[in-house]
Amino acid sequence: MNDKGKIVLGLIVFLVIMTFPMWYNFINGVVPFEDAVVQTANTPGKDKCVRAADYMRTQHMDLLNEWRQEVVRNGDRYTEDAYGNKIEKSLSNTCMDCHSNKEEFCDRCHNYMAVAPYCWDCHVLPAEVQQADMALKVDATEGNE
């Protein structure tokens, strides 16, 4: 029992490191959750999403996965929204038509939840976001090399 001091010290260091995220947030204050900004100004006439907002908030990834499967593998491109209108199952063309404010609509929650979906590695954003993103990407690749 001669190493009692060392063991206790080790346990304390371990606990401090393990609980780092908790007290770090406690000291800095919890980052407040900001809800997605729903932008409707540039889409006159389209004031409703393809599904109810509550469903979309929690299940949009499931819907997108379902659409992806049906479009890519079955070539089944069209469906109806919750109100019976014919829509195309397309992230770039249907979703982003209304929600063209990617930074405020997609990124805000994704960053808060620390998820990094790779949609935009391939799918094309509305023009202005696309330009900025491209500039960033080139900077990033140059920085890596």
Binding site: R68, V72, R73, G75, R77, S92, N93, Y118, D121, C122, H123, V124, P126, A127, Q130, M134, A135, K137, V138, T141
Partner: protein
Amino acid sequence: MSFDRRKFVKAASIAALGGVVSPPLKLFGGVVVDGQSAEAVPEAVSGCIGCECSPVAPPTNATRWAMVIDLKTCREHEDCTICMDACHKTHNVPDVDNPKEQMKWIWKEHFGHAFHEADHPYLEEHVKHSNALLMCNHCNNPPCVSVCPTNATFKREKDGLVMMDWHRCIGCRYCIAACPYGSRSFNYTEPKKYFAEKGIQIEPDFPTRTRGVVEKCTFCEERLARGLWPACVDACPHNALVFGDLDNPDDPVRCLLAKHFTIRRKPALGTEPEIYYIV
């Protein structure tokens, strides 16, 4: 023994007689059928005069898409790249300078390289020195599909297109090794980089791909779904590319195949390519 030699010889003779008599009977039946189908060909292209004209929009119920490429017409316009430009623009295929990392969905290749089985030293001069237009053959028996470990490449049951699910591709490049036609390209670098570097606008209607993904011609599946011809077929000002449903005997594709001698690339491999060339 109940089945003696005498009975055996009798039975064998009857069987042999049956074998000799039945083929001509079949043949006789066949003549009538052939006569009907031969008459049906000119009527086939309703609303069109000759095989060269295409309907306004592609059929919506096609079960086996195929293409006929008229290399005779292609040869008359040696430097024409209109179809290639249209395809690569539509599908955001980057223009890569390094030949080892080149991306291509549709391209031209020396005739002897494309059809090495048909090549010989004394080939007709203008064919010998011509280029053939190549793209994915959308094989009926695609070797790329057999080797894909993630089912990212698959043959679509409803119309025979050899498709890619780029979300699922892990970039193992087995399909590149398996494809005997060199139809597949690999993204060694982030493709969006090339568009930014060269200041080329990305076509917003179609996604780009990402680094580590294989890509190839899709026979413009996304355009067919919207009732449009494939981009190359649409762009060709000389009507050298004809696209249609091979399973429909009334289709212009079938009309062309019935009227012209056509060849396919590397038919001996048994991949059943679905691009037919009029040479």
